[in-house]
Symmetry: C2
Subunit: 142 residues, 2 copies
């Protein structure tokens, strides 16, 4: 029996876009509405394991998602990261950050601030998610 | 008097490679020998603010540095991130990660592990830095 990688299951998560090579997921994170992941379908560990052509396809997808998040969510700053220490299967985190969010100005993996954002600010951002879905799908259709 | 951005000072840090558009810095981090940054010289906030051509130049540099770090430092996993919450001037962090490092498997911005690596493991990695410098410079020369 082989070791199962959770990102090898291409049907998991809230999939906005799916191609032969990659998929875009809307992450369900209570503190970070608009957080998306771009996941390479094949089980590859590092960006420099990909061919130049595949790496370019992957990064073009990342920038399409970033553009959509910026257009709709209007973040203060974008955070973009490929870590994969726990799941060594290539995936990019795209996180819209706000000066009042739960960790700002620290990375979202640091300790939560004591003065976390109030629910109304989060709700306002969450209300943008239908528009974000539509914009990401449109960016891949063009 | 304008607000000073520390990354607009192109002479700061341990510069391994410098081009008209970007520079590569060896970061002085006691826990992470081999940690490098690729910094865009112009004060630009987000990757999607760059032209396609500039973004491609930037990412090609990132992958040259990743390739050198992997070849010399032999990490368990690469971490690659563009955050910039404190300094909104484009820069990529490239961090070689090891299962015994100070934060593994968490991101380096999380709380330090109680069972941090011993000094000899760090020293062995630190001894690779001259070779890393040479390899990064070679990757940009070719």
């Amino acid at each position: 029996m082989s070791i199962v990688c959770e990102l090898c299951d291409a049907s998991a998560g809230d999939i906005l876009v799916s191609t032969d090579q990659l998929r875009v997921i809307l992450v369900d994170d209570a503190n970070y509405p608009g957080f998306c992941r771009v996941i390479w379908n094949a089980h590859v560990k590092e960006m420099t394991d990909l061919s130049d052509a595949d790496r370019n396809v992957f990064m073009q997808a990342v920038w399409k998602v970033e553009a959509a998040i910026r257009a709709v969510m209007q973040p203060h700053k974008m955070n973009v990261a490929s870590l994969g220490n726990m799941v060594p299967h290539l995936h990019w985190h795209l996180i819209p950050r706000y000066t009042d969010d739960a960790h700002f100005p620290n990375p979202i993996w640091a300790a939560v601030r004591s003065d976390a954002p109030d629910q109304s600010a989060l709700d306002a951002r969450r209300n943008l998610l239908p528009q974000l879905r539509q914009t990401i799908m449109s960016n891949f259709a063009s």
